[in-house]
């Protein structure tokens, strides 16, 4: 294998040959991130709300349910993502028919990201002063109304910030899943950059991932700040 100098490597990282490999991987990564994010948003939000609502001092305390839910979430959270992905790939075969490739990995990725976002949603909602929920109760609000009219709107700025964190976690977990046949930027980085010492491709893949994370964080910050500004809280 010919040895490239640092300058050549960096130049090559922006070369056409490198990008013919990296570009399709970007598409795969975006595909996985997009669907995993949707699943994480929906089920993570539901999970977080369930955790808060059924906890001992929640609006619908349900000790047994909350204990089981808490243990499942903790169990999933305590395992490294890569283990969960390995464990859930057979599940993907059952749900989407294949256990390899981007489609299969979405399920595995969602299983690792939902409990994490669920906990973040929980902490966002718990930031709401209890008095506001009590005020709603004192007006005769039903639990469903407290969730939709108080908890979610009041926690919105914090939810947006935590959702940003979750999307970034999805991006990095997606890269991890690349090692297990998911495809995408992680896969390219490992197959070319690590296994074949193609440092230029590794650099290109990393740059794209850094850019993705920056963009997500930037959008998240703007959205959250806009909500706070609109409400004159900053």
């Amino acid at each position: 294998m010919e040895q490239m100098t640092l300058a050549e490597t960096i130049a090559s990282a922006f070369g056409e040959k490198t990008w013919t490999i990296v570009f399709p991987a970007i598409y795969d990564t975006l595909y996985m991130v997009f669907y995993t994010t949707i699943l994480t948003a929906v089920f993570g939000l539901l999970l977080g709300i369930l955790i808060v609502v059924t906890s001992d001092d929640g609006i619908y305390p349900c000790r047994k349910f909350s204990a089981v839910l808490g243990s499942v979430v903790n169990g999933l959270r305590s395992l490294p993502s890569i283990i969960i992905i390995i464990l859930t790939l057979p599940l993907s075969r059952f749900i989407v028919g294949v256990s390899y490739g981007p489609k299969a990995c979405i399920i595995a990725l969602a299983v690792t990201c939902i409990p994490m976002f669920g906990r973040l949603v929980e902490s966002s909602i718990l930031e709401i002063p209890k008095g506001k929920i009590e005020a709603a109760r004192s007006m005769g609000a039903k639990n469903s109304q407290i969730v939709t009219k108080v908890m979610i709107p009041e926690a919105l700025p914090s939810l947006i910030r935590n959702f940003t964190i979750a999307v970034i976690a999805v991006i990095s977990t997606t890269a991890l899943a690349g090692m297990l046949g998911a495809g995408g930027l992680g896969d390219v980085a490992v197959r070319f950059g690590y296994n074949r010492f193609k440092t230029d491709i590794l650099i290109a893949a990393i740059l794209v991932m850094i850019l993705m994370v920056q963009v997500v964080q930037f959008i998240g910050n703007i959205l959250s700040r806009n909500v706070l500004k609109k409400r004159h809280l900053i």
């Binding site: 008095g131 709603a136 005769g140």
Partner: protein, 270 residues
């Protein structure tokens, strides 16, 4: 007072609280906060409950709309026994009892008008009728020009006015005030109390307020009770409690009150 004691006058009192008990339990310890409170309040009264911190004032007022569940005793409003309401009935009933809080508890996600429409939405009011009602109440609390402001843009006094407007939205029979002026400066306190007096007259609303500020009681209340260690130790018209206090707590309150008025820091008298 004597006439009331003779027959207990059950039929004429709007609110009757009898032997109300509440014990808080946490980690094996229990605190008996209300030790059998008896209270009668007439319709249209502005009734003040005064007591030091920890006397149980807040728990007492929060039992009336069952934000706290009493352990024993009765709370009758008109012919309704509050402690026996089912969850569904309680939600309906709560719409007829407004409450305002020390910390206002407005929703930051909603404008002033939307905060006031909140209880109307909950009560299932039709959208077409909400905006008219909101306008009407905002007029009453003198905040029409702030309808589209967010709570984050308002002063403490304005926030409490929104709180009052919100509490009045569903035309309640009773307004509970849980230390509603304790976070406000004296001038703002006065204007909020004037508003309470005003709505008491205009709407024939029964107001129950708890406070640790004697001036608040003196300024707005017609009748009062003194709560000490979970029990009512004294009650009656405000003037008579002030002029001839019988309980230690009432005497102490008045002494503190007087102390602030004559206690110059140079040690001199009036």
């Amino acid at each position: 007072m004597a006439a009331q004691l003779g027959e207990r006058g059950e039929a004429e009192h709007f609110i009757r609280i009898a032997d109300l008990r509440k014990t808080f339990r946490s980690r094996g310890k229990s605190f008996e906060v209300l030790k059998g409170v008896d209270l009668e309040i007439d319709r249209g009264d502005i009734f003040g409950v005064v007591g030091f911190s920890g006397a149980g004032k807040s728990t007492l007022i929060r039992c009336i709309n069952r934000l706290e569940e009493p352990d024993g005793g009765e709370i009758k409003i008109g012919d309704t026994e509050i402690t026996k309401l089912t969850k569904y009935e309680l939600d309906r009933y709560r719409q007829k009892i407004g409450i305002i809080f020390q910390q206002f508890n407005l929703l930051d996600s909603r404008t002033v008008a939307e905060n006031v429409s909140f209880p109307l939405e909950i009560a299932g009011e039709k959208n077409g009728r909400i905006s008219g009602r909101v306008k009407e109440i905002l007029d009453l609390v003198d905040l029409s020009d702030k309808a589209d402001f967010y709570p984050g843009q308002l002063s403490g006094g304005q926030k409490q006015r929104v709180g009052i407007a919100r509490a009045l939205a569903n035309n309640p029979d009773i307004l509970l005030s849980d230390e509603a002026t304790s976070a406000l400066d004296p001038q703002t306190t006065l204007s909020v109390l004037d508003l309470l007096k005003d709505i008491n007259e205009k709407l024939k609303l029964t107001i129950i307020l708890i406070t640790h500020e004697l001036n608040v009681i003196r300024y707005v209340c017609k009748n009062m009770a003194v709560l000490e260690d979970g029990q009512i130790v004294e009650r009656g018209p405000v003037r008579s409690v002030f002029t001839s206090p019988a309980s230690d707590t009432a005497k102490l309150f008045l002494k503190i009150d007087a102390g602030f008025q004559i206690g110059w820091n140079d040690g001199g008298g009036i």
